[in-house]
């Protein structure tokens, strides 16, 4: 993807006018809280994505990018708020300037408009997680398993996996519903055939017996076996080829079937009872429905609780426990609502199915009513059937079912009041028809039987197709679940391994055996970590806040590596490790430097110690920093650009500002000697307040340096390594000269001199002092400009192995033969 070469910010957030040169390298913005560092993070995020997380999402309330993105003095002029980023596309090496202003935040200009860079920017826009704060990172660790799964899946862009799973589940549900309906059609058609044949089971022997009995009357060849594939009426003369087939006995049975269904609606009464009970439960507590609607919101709010301040209502609660209990109660209530919803849907489907069965009975009687029924009885029956269709349609949603409560309680079937009379008159009219002759009865019997056989055959064909669709949908869903679950398991195993490796590297001193388990299960993602070999626990069970910070960052890095692979080239880490202690931060710097050499990290911190560690470990070059001192509303951050200390001193001296140059030199020496004492194991008398004296540090560094030169010389002799002997001799000579020069000028940086004698200390007097110290400090740095690293001891298994720099150009063996 991309790296950032330079950043220009105008009238954006707390910044009025700021230019930073990053040169595609890792960069640190450091300074006290409230000095404007976050403005840089916001500007990078805005330029690259068109968004500012701080102004969006939960807890942002009435904030908006348009109104609150510009500097407060330009809040009515969003076009003035502009960020320009010079980006380099990592693969092609091409660069362009991306410019975006708040007024037209959704679009950006690219100059020159290089396709590779535009494509890279569009990919970055899909990954807002490239800019993360501690609060966002720690949520991967502290989240409930269900929420963690959501967070991680959102980060990895896995939400589409869930969306597709949901689509395929819906497909399966609809196919199942269609199939159920087709099965019901088969049952209905079979019932009609069995009613006509006057049998209670559709067995081949029974069917064959009834059919052959009539075929024998008509002297037709008997059927060997009457199955649903056998034409029952083959050879029968059809007296009414286009009319309604009528068989008196069968017609009376159809009318009677409808009459009986009215008195005992079979599956309907049970389903209606259960549905009404569920609706009553819902109506008794309207908050259940609201809870269902708010469920998602509460789940997200609970995951973001980090104290007594509620991220949803933006109010302070008595305690974090009170707030958590309140939100958990809400969630529990919505879980009940979700369970109730499932019951409602199941029972509503049953009611709809029962209505369908009713309609099939009505449809059998309608043609009879048209021929033999009283007045407009067939029209009344048709209207009733249409009403049932509409009634069925109400049960596709909970709101629809709720609206039918009154009808469900009183008379769900809602037959016309005149129905008993219609059916009585219809039966009487059919009864009054003279009995058919034996041959006519046999003929009509076979013709009706054939019609109903065809209906059964057709219904079975449809059912077979719907069944096949349902089976295919089921297989698709299960194949998808198995494929997605395997992919997720593999992914999580890889993330778990990488996460563990990173964490062990940061905590090699006390948790070198650390293990982690990342286990997906039923939409959740459980994270358990080893605690000093005593068992696997949730990460926030026993580990300190600092360790949790470290875990959050390690998990984030593992996830990003998995997601982007070699495309992980840029990340903004906004004050992410505030709780990690000093020694582990140094290891963290090493991890970022060694494991992610291709990634440009832009890191903000309020902690000067960590900022110095980033530079001393070589994670960021000394030139790749911006130090923010303070901030004012009118001018924005007061900051010190990344300037080599020697250049800054030279600038001071050019202005004849010797006191400033001296103060800068002393600060630089104190900081550098402190790092060097650590790097070389220099011995300094312990001070509880950690405020070490300049003189103590200098002695410690010089003593250790001398000692390790002695060890290196002895080792070179033991191996008879002439080249090493030569290098050591040269280094010793340089050291001798530098130490003499430094000793001659060391008085000049005494604090007392600074405070009392500067009026008479000229630029010419001070320049040799600077040169002497520069020469002295060069003894401890690599001469390779790309390395710039300070030398340090390499220790293995408690033994000092070498004195070297990061790139290895400076490398003295300390182990003797």
């Amino acid at each position: 993807m991309i790296r950032v070469e330079a950043l220009r910010i105008r009238e954006f957030r707390g910044i009025r006018d700021l230019d930073l040169t990053l040169s595609g390298k890792s960069f640190v913005v450091w300074g006290p809280n409230g000095s404007g560092k976050s403005g840089v993070v916001d500007a990078l995020e805005f330029a690259l994505t068109g968004h500012v997380s701080r102004l969006e999402g939960a807890g942002s309330g009435l904030l908006s990018l348009q109104r609150h993105g510009p500097h407060v003095h330009r809040r009515d002029d969003p076009a003035a708020a502009e960020v320009a980023v010079t980006v380099c596309e990592a693969a092609s090496g091409k660069t362009a300037v991306l410019t975006r202003n708040v007024k037209t935040a959704k679009t950006f200009t690219l100059e020159p408009d290089v396709p590779e860079i535009r494509a890279a920017i569009e990919r970055v826009q899909q990954h807002p997680e490239l800019t993360l704060s501690r609060r966002e990172i720690i949520k991967f660790i502290l989240a409930e398993p269900g929420k963690r799964a959501e967070e991680v899946q959102a980060l990895l862009k896995l939400d589409r996996l869930g969306d597709l799973r949901s689509v395929l589940r819906t497909l399966q549900t609809r196919a199942s519903s269609d199939h159920k309906s087709a099965v019901e059609q088969v049952n209905s058609a079979q019932n009609q055939l069995m009613r006509h044949l006057d049998i209670n089971a559709l067995l081949v022997s029974r069917v064959t017996g009834e059919i052959n009995q009539r075929r024998a009357v008509l002297s037709l060849p008997l059927l060997e076996a009457a199955t649903i594939e056998t034409p029952f009426a083959e050879g029968v003369d059809r007296p009414q080829p286009d009319g309604v087939s009528f068989n008196k006995a069968s017609a009376l049975k159809d009318v009677d079937a409808l009459r009986q269904a009215l008195t005992i609606p079979p599956g309907l009464s049970g389903a209606v009872f259960r549905l009404l009970s569920a609706l009553a439960e819902l109506d008794a507590d309207p908050t259940i429905l609201t809870a269902l609607k708010h469920r998602e919101l509460v789940t997200s709010g609970l995951a973001q609780v980090t104290g007594s301040y509620c991220p949803l209502c933006e109010k302070e609660w008595a305690s974090e426990d009170d707030l958590r209990r309140h939100l958990s109660d809400k969630l529990e209530r919505s879980e009940g609502a979700a369970r109730l919803e499932r019951i409602l849907r199941t029972e509503a489907q049953q009611v709809a199915l029962a209505c369908k069965q009713f309609r099939s009975l009505i449809e059998m009687v309608v043609p009879l009513a048209k021929s033999y029924g009283p007045g407009d009885s067939s029209a009344q029956l048709r209207l009733w059937a249409e009403d049932l269709v509409e009634f069925e349609g109400q049960f596709t949603s909970i709101e629809g079912a709720r609206g039918q409560g009154a009808r469900l309680r009183s008379d769900p079937v809602a037959a016309p009041q005149s129905l008993p009379s219609i059916l009585s008159q219809l039966s009487a009219a059919i009864e009054a028809i003279p009995d058919q002759s034996v041959t006519a009865e046999a003929t009509s019997f076979l013709i009706v039987a054939e019609e109903r056989r065809r209906s059964v055959r057709l219904a079975r064909e449809v059912e077979a197709k719907k069944g096949a669709v349902h089976a295919a949908a089921k297989t698709l869903y299960s194949v998808y679940c198995a494929t997605a679950d395997k992919a997720l398991t593999d992914l999580y195993e890889a993330v778990q391994a990488e996460f563990g490796t990173y964490y062990r590297e940061i905590n090699s001193d006390d948790e070198s055996e650390f293990k982690a388990q990342l286990e997906p299960s039923a939409g959740k993602l459980d994270l358990r970590v080893d605690f000093y070999g005593l068992g696997m626990f949730p990460p926030n069970a026993f580990h300190s806040e600092g360790h949790q910070d470290g875990m959050g960052l390690c998990l984030y890095l593992a996830l990003m590596r998995q997601m982007l692979g070699s495309g992980f080239t840029f990340a903004v880490l906004d004050d992410v490790v505030m709780s990690v202690d000093g020694s582990h931060r140094k290891q963290l710097c090493n991890l970022l430097r060694d494991r992610f050499p291709g990634v440009q990290f832009v890191i903000t911190t309020h902690d000067p110690v960590w900022a110095q560690q980033m530079m001393s470990t070589g994670l960021v070059a000394r030139a790749s920093q911006a130090r923010f001192h303070s901030w004012t509303v009118d001018d924005g951050p007061v900051y010190e650009p990344a300037t080599e200390v020697w250049d800054a001193i030279a600038t001071d001296l050019e202005k004849d500002d010797v006191p400033a140059a001296a103060a800068r030199l002393r600060r630089a020496l104190e900081s550098t000697l402190s790092d060097l004492a650590g790097n070389l194991k220099g011995l300094v008398a312990f001070r509880p307040e950690g405020n070490y004296d300049f003189g103590d540090l200098l002695s410690a560094v010089m003593g250790a340096h001398s000692k390790w030169f002695g060890v290196a010389a002895k080792a070179a002799n033991s191996w008879n390594d002439s080249q090493a002997k030569q290098v050591i001799a040269e280094l010793k000579a340089a050291r001798g000269a530098a130490v003499i020069a430094q000793a001659e000028e060391s008085w000049a940086i005494n604090k007392a001199v600074h405070y009392n004698e500067w009026a008479s200390f000229s630029k010419a007097d001070f320049e040799p002092v600077v040169d002497a110290w520069r020469q002295f400090l060069n003894l401890f740095s690599c001469s390779n400009v790309d390395c710039e690293g300070r030398i340090y001891l390499v220790v293995s298994s408690g033994r000092e192995e070498a004195l070297r720099c990061r790139c290895g150009k400076y490398n003295l063996n300390l182990r003797s033969k």
Binding site: K157, L158, A472, T483
Partner: protein, 58 residues
């Protein structure tokens, strides 16, 4: 590099193609549906399966 979503969809279609009850025709039609819409609608997939299983029966 392909996203995890793309990898899963690709593996899913490969598995569909070798399933006895589904097969390469279903896989090919699904691939077309996924190419047309990254997240097809359930109704469209239902129509697709109905058409394909209907054709198989004929």
């Amino acid at each position: 590099m392909p996203s995890i979503n793309e990898e899963v969809v690709s593996a899913f279609l490969q598995q569909v193609a070798v399933e006895d009850s589904l097969g390469s025709t279903v896989a090919a039609e699904l691939a077309t549906a996924f190419a047309a819409a990254k997240l097809p609608k359930a109704d469209d997939l239902l129509q697709l399966l109905t058409r394909l299983t209907g054709e198989a029966l004929a």
